[in-house]
């Protein structure tokens, strides 16, 4: 058992470094050919959109992993027991409301929620936080206010609908969720010798992990951005039901940062305010890059159940809130 696997593993590892080195040389040599491959305007546009999604998300991801690493390394587990009500049904809305405090976009909240679960916070509460933080934080609400001049009810509607969706999803998990769907982040190997050591190891690990999945989502979003015909949008804006579903799906596909999505939503002027609300509620909670990151951090079994359910709940809640506040 001890001898051969170790040797095999060593060879494999050596191979990885080698691949990196040889790959670098080949790529540098082949660079002119690579660039000419990207001469196609559609491919070039997709590459630009891809890089810009990653570049835009990167600082938020860095903030998110630093925060989650700090939670893991410096905040004692007992803190969460004191900060959150012991009753889980009550803990869900409290955690959801705590989302007001994390001024980041959705890329930051995925590692933070993972870290909260690893520190013993009830999954239902951590999930409510995961969904609400990117949607209702102050930066997002202010940008919504700026993007919809003269329509402050849009800010209220966004706050109410996002919070309600997050809390409802938390309670759903409490009632129907199964612990085995969640592949809880395995973190024992990230325990360093000092809290600072742990902090550093966790931050590096989480960045590499979540960043890799961000890349998958960014690639998918860039491809859709270029492949999607722009005309179909206009054709559905007249039908109230299709309009809501269409913009909700578009939010999933575009994967825009929650701090900018209000400006994009504002530009869909042929759509009803309710449809645009659905765009704003769905986008920060579930989009291609988030699905990919959630699958990476919480496991595939979780993501295939959580993502579609979130979508349905978010669309339903936005329609209700839109009917109540925006019509």
């Amino acid at each position: 058992m001890s001898g051969q696997p170790t040797a095999a593993r060593r060879r494999l590892r050596f191979g990885a470094l080698e691949i990196l080195a040889v790959g670098a040389v080949v790529l540098v040599v082949a660079q002119p050919r690579l660039v000419s491959m990207f001469d196609n305007p559609a491919l070039q546009t997709a590459a630009t959109v891809f890089v810009s999604i990653i570049v835009q998300a990167l600082p938020f991801l860095v903030v998110g992993v630093l925060l989650s690493a700090a939670i893991g390394a410096f905040v004692p587990k007992s803190f969460w027991q004191r900060a959150l009500p012991a009753n889980r049904v009550v803990a869900v809305p409290v955690a959801g409301a705590a989302g007001l405090l994390l001024p980041g976009c959705e890329c930051a909240s995925v590692p933070v929620a993972g870290s909260l679960m690893a520190r013993g916070v009830a999954p239902a509460a951590a999930l409510a936080f995961l969904l609400s933080a990117p949607a209702i934080n102050p930066i997002v609400l202010v940008s919504t206010f700026v993007a919809f001049p003269g329509q402050p009810q849009m800010v209220l509607a966004r706050l109410v609908a996002s919070f309600a969706t997050a809390v409802f999803m938390g309670w759903l998990w409490l009632r129907f969720g199964r612990a085995k769907w969640l592949r809880m982040p395995e973190r024992t190997h990230l325990e360093g010798s000092t809290p600072f050591h742990t902090f550093r190891l966790t931050a590096s690990h989480d960045f590499l992990h979540a960043g890799g999945f961000l890349v998958v989502g960014g690639l998918a979003a860039a491809a859709m951005n270029v492949a999607m015909p722009s005309e179909w949008m206009e054709s559905i804006s007249g039908n109230p039901v299709l309009a809501v579903l269409g913009l909700a799906l578009l939010a999933v596909v575009l994967s825009i940062c929650s701090e900018a999505d209000a400006f994009v939503a504002a530009s869909f002027t042929s759509f009803s305010l309710t449809a645009r609300l659905a765009f704003l509620v769905v986008g920060p909670m579930i989009d291609l890059k988030l699905m990919s990151m959630q699958a990476g951090i919480f496991g595939r079994a979780f993501a295939v159940r959580f993502a579609p359910t979130t979508f349905v709940v978010a669309v339903a809640v936005s329609s209700l809130v839109g009917w109540w506040l925006l019509s």
Binding site: V28, L34, V35, T48, V55, T188, G212
Partner: protein
């Protein structure tokens, strides 16, 4: 995935981030306000990567004379994780390579031709134009003033507009420029139709950057979100792509 490779990937992502935000390349992808955040993130990633590398190098002598990277209990545990864990980190090389090898350009004619909405309806009252003859305007500002304010603030003023040539099926061209809300994933286009262009300028290749000076002239169309306003060209200069290619 060994600590060494993790640290190299962290370093590469950090260096790529610094590389684009140190100069002006980042303006092809995001807004100017992102720059400090990108610089700080780049530094943090480089520091994390360098630290991890030092860790790995320190751990080496303790693991025996063979020079193998592993041996300490923590490293062994990390290895067990490698098959489910940050293997995804390899994917981070895709954007790094795209930035260094392909260097995707700013969005241009292809995106502009796909965007059919030209300006969003507004009932905001337009402030008078600032002084200047000609006065330099963003293309989007000109479009909004022309379409939603009936050109009221543009009457009698000479304006200077910068954008790129967007070829039309009928052989004419529009002056277009992209604008970002946040990043290139949410970009949209503004377009104006130049009239009375100098005859030789009719042959400008698509994507050429030009600065037009001219005056607003009314069109008979009723203003809609697709309306492309006109500008009567008095002067046309071909220029280099601006440092910030977006409006």
């Amino acid at each position: 995935m060994t600590r060494e490779i993790q640290s190299i990937i962290l370093l590469l992502v950090g260096i790529a981030t610094l590389r684009i935000s140190w100069g002006t390349t980042y303006l092809n992808y995001v807004k100017e306000s992102m720059r400090p955040w990108l610089l700080v993130s780049g530094v943090i990633l480089v520091v994390l990567g360098a630290w991890l590398l030092i860790d790995a190098m320190r751990a080496r002598p303790a693991s025996g004379a063979s020079g193998a990277e592993s041996g300490t209990p923590t490293e062994a545990a990390d290895d067990g994780h490698a098959h489910s864990g940050p293997r995804a980190a390899w994917l981070l090389l895709i954007p790094v390579l795209t930035i260094f090898l392909v260097a995707p350009p700013a969005l241009g004619a292809y995106s502009a031709s796909r965007d059919t909405t030209n300006s969003i309806a507004t009932d905001r009252s337009m402030a008078p134009l600032p002084p200047g003859d000609p006065v330099t305007l963003y293309l989007s500002d000109y479009v909004t003033r022309a379409v939603w304010d009936g050109g009221r603030t543009l009457v009698g003023r000479s304006v200077s507009l910068t954008g790129f040539v967007l070829a039309q099926p009928d052989g004419s061209w529009l002056l277009a420029r992209m604008q970002l809300n946040c990043c290139a994933a949410d970009a949209f286009a503004s377009k104006v139709r130049p009239v009375n262009i100098p005859p030789d300028a009719g042959l400008l290749p698509e994507g050429t950057w030009v600065t037009l000076t001219g005056t607003w002239i009314p069109s008979e169309e009723v203003g809609t979100e697709e309306t492309i306003p006109l500008v009567d060209v008095a002067g046309l200069v071909v220029i280099e792509e601006p440092t910030n290619p977006y409006d």
